[in-house]
Symmetry: D2
Subunit: 258 residues, 4 copies
């Protein structure tokens, strides 16, 4: 083997009876910290503090499922319906998380960064930067990701995420810029409430998560939901059925409280 083929990784070190993730013994992490903290550690290199960890728990829950007929769930159910094993059906679902479904988080983070940069560079208010962006996007006939939803006009996930971030002292420029964009639309007479993608974009930015990892967070969050739907498809439906998105009826537990 030629010496130039040596390559490096800084994520895990595996030796006989000793596995370390980012320097920590995995068996020390187990029992002492949460899965969500370990997710942050493996992706970001350091453990989150207590507040960041609490916020991440809520962020990941917020996208765990959104019903049986979102595109990624339909793709996963369709694959399962043909007899695909669980991992293949999950892969079909993951392959359906893109720009127009889940990917809005990444797009929105770019807009928020652009807005914050403008405000900083030209020393202007966030509100002014937001209004400029809104006008520019409208002029180019482009939508700003993270605002508006076909179903929710007061998304309970957004409200909860922002109140929690505020309470934990973690709401920063991302949240402020996101609210400024919502306000800018209101100012020009458009009601475009912040959706869960927008809320997650703002918080990921304030948690210093790189834009390139935004989709990873959404995919990790949604995977359990996809798995549940695949299992339900396998156990409750006959194979090779034609799936009608409008013909879905919920028959799970009645509304209940913790």
């Amino acid at each position: 083997m030629k010496s130039e083929a040596v390559w490096h990784s800084s994520i895990s070190a595996v030796a006989a009876n000793e596995i370390r993730v980012r320097g920590y013994r995995i068996d020390e992490l187990m029992g002492e910290t949460s899965f969500v903290s370990a997710i942050y550690l493996v992706l970001m290199g350091e453990l989150p503090d207590r507040e960041e960890s609490r916020l991440l728990e809520a962020m990941l829950i917020s996208s765990i499922d959104h019903g049986a007929v979102t595109p990624s769930t339909l793709a996963a159910r369709t694959a399962a319906s043909t007899g695909a094993p669980l991992n293949a059906a999950l892969a079909a679902g993951v392959l359906s998380i893109n720009r127009f479904h889940g990917g809005a988080i990444e797009d929105c983070m770019h807009v928020l960064k652009e807005g914050l940069q403008r405000a900083a560079e030209r020393n202007i208010e966030l509100e002014k930067a937001a209004l400029e962006l809104v006008h520019e996007f409208r002029h180019e006939k482009r939508r700003i990701a993270g605002l508006g939803h076909r179903l929710h006009d007061d998304d309970p996930r957004t409200r909860k995420l922002f109140s929690l971030a505020s309470e934990l002292g973690l709401a920063d420029g991302g949240v402020a810029m996101m609210l400024a964009l919502e306000g800018a639309f209101r100012e020009i007479g458009k009601s475009l409430p912040i959706n869960v993608d927008g809320a997650l974009a703002a918080l990921l930015l304030d948690l210093k998560v790189p834009v390139e990892l935004a989709n990873a967070f959404f995919i990790m969050a949604r995977l359990p939901g996809l798995a549940a739907h695949i299992r339900e498809e396998q156990t409750r439906q006959r194979p090779m059925r034609s799936i009608h998105p409008d013909a879905l009826s919920y028959d799970g537990p009645e509304p209940r409280s913790l």
Copy 2:
């Protein structure tokens, strides 16, 4: 639409500004419970209790990563190296979690169930059932999944998982049967320590998780590791490189403690 096309799902109910998972408002779950508890809820239909939740945290951490050259990581890195977007590289990794990598958990659960059933039906000791199984598998020249590891002969993850399960009062028949199998091999002169797949199989059984969901747990656990390796490949390596599994060198943080 014909009426027979109506189909049911019991997982989530989505209405304007109200999203419920298994009956609970998602915004109530956020902040009040952990992501791991929500994973269990969406897959199993009910929230875990405090002890189950703690054990699940450790179980999911135990498989979060195992270095840069496991097959699923190599597949994900190879895809990333060609320019695949994050979700496609993750899918390539997930498609490489099968019978011989990750899938051992499912196979091992079947063996454990078989052993427990024999012991119950014929009212014999677990040790006796285990010895029978070991002899039968050896006679058919088949391996029992969950025992032995090419690298670890005293897997720190197994030890931690079993001590934690014991401390939390959750070690039950699955753990006992797993230990009986290890003992049966010892009795015939074979040292085949319980690996992490075997430990997870035992605990998933004791947590009443259906065998068909075992792979889902491994995939959810490993996804953050895959994402970290994909991101590292994208940022530290040149595209289209030839990846030599033996030429890997770790250059991450020094060993450290919590």
Copy 3:
């Protein structure tokens, strides 16, 4: 590198300015033979003769497309609808070709082999072996793959494939056994005409293609159809639409002849 890591492949040899597939220079194959012959070569190790090649052309065409709402096409369109790149949408389609969709070819080949083996071993007529199999499957309440179709009761693809195979002198035991199975059902009063999967199973058997490659033939055949649907989804539909399988209307070219 340890010497035991050396591994072998007998498919292609690639050297500077010389690429050989199964021994033949690729640039000699180009121009002299057909893509279908090269497919057979790369998979089977030898070039097909003229008759086999003609039959393979027809076999691959027979499964090139079957409309916009088969499960693999729906999965591919769903992924494309979320913004997936072409290869990811193709992968989602390929992952939806399994036991209940496309995979029937493989299942049917197993039944045909079983029937032929029984007839040979016990020196009985194919008709008798077929009747036995039909009775056994019915007793076990199992379907025999390759017979019956929800839409076609006289599948034009089956008729064409069998007449072509006959004309080319390639119809052998596989075709005979398939017809015997259809006859056995007729004898017990069931009209279950041979579908395209059954016809392909019979012909792949008569072409000595291993059962394990049956799915590869179907996937290669269907890939162009999947690509066409993905492209159509990307160019004619808005993103993130809800795809209703019953609401499809054909607006392509009028019926025409060659």
Copy 4:
């Protein structure tokens, strides 16, 4: 179902016992035309003429395989090595065909179109347009896809494709522009021979295939090779092996001629 949900497809019309692709009865296409012509039909809407069809055969053969250690093959073999079914291993391979592997065809087509457009708009020689492009790319430190290869400096596939296109009267602006780019590099003292991606890009352009379908052609061409490698991995190698790209040794048929 709401009426706005009606959607259209112009690819296939499927009715009882009648399947039409782009207007032609599929059973009429079978036997009368080639698989490659049907591929072109389903993707492009019309049958190719005799010359186009012959060229397409050679183009698809040119990319059918390139040895056992290209990234898509390694990803497919890695998945197969873990026990993945054939379609899942194929999907892992397809997901590894991207910008840096296979995707060069698409990138190169964009450059060729840009060059041809410049030459047409400003009424300049192709050579002049090519030299401008080469200078611009070098100034921006970007590579032009389709030129240069780490192994082949006189790619036999390129030579064969161009001579065949010329003989069939199908070499047009795409080929001319491609040659002009190679000449422009030569003029500035760089020997960057046209690779197979560049040759395919030129010919797809001259066949009026849309840029967005370029990857589909490469994926269709490579799928048989991927399937052959997956099958070889399943039958010749032990599961979960560590695949060393440098340790490959060819042991197939000796060099032979048609």
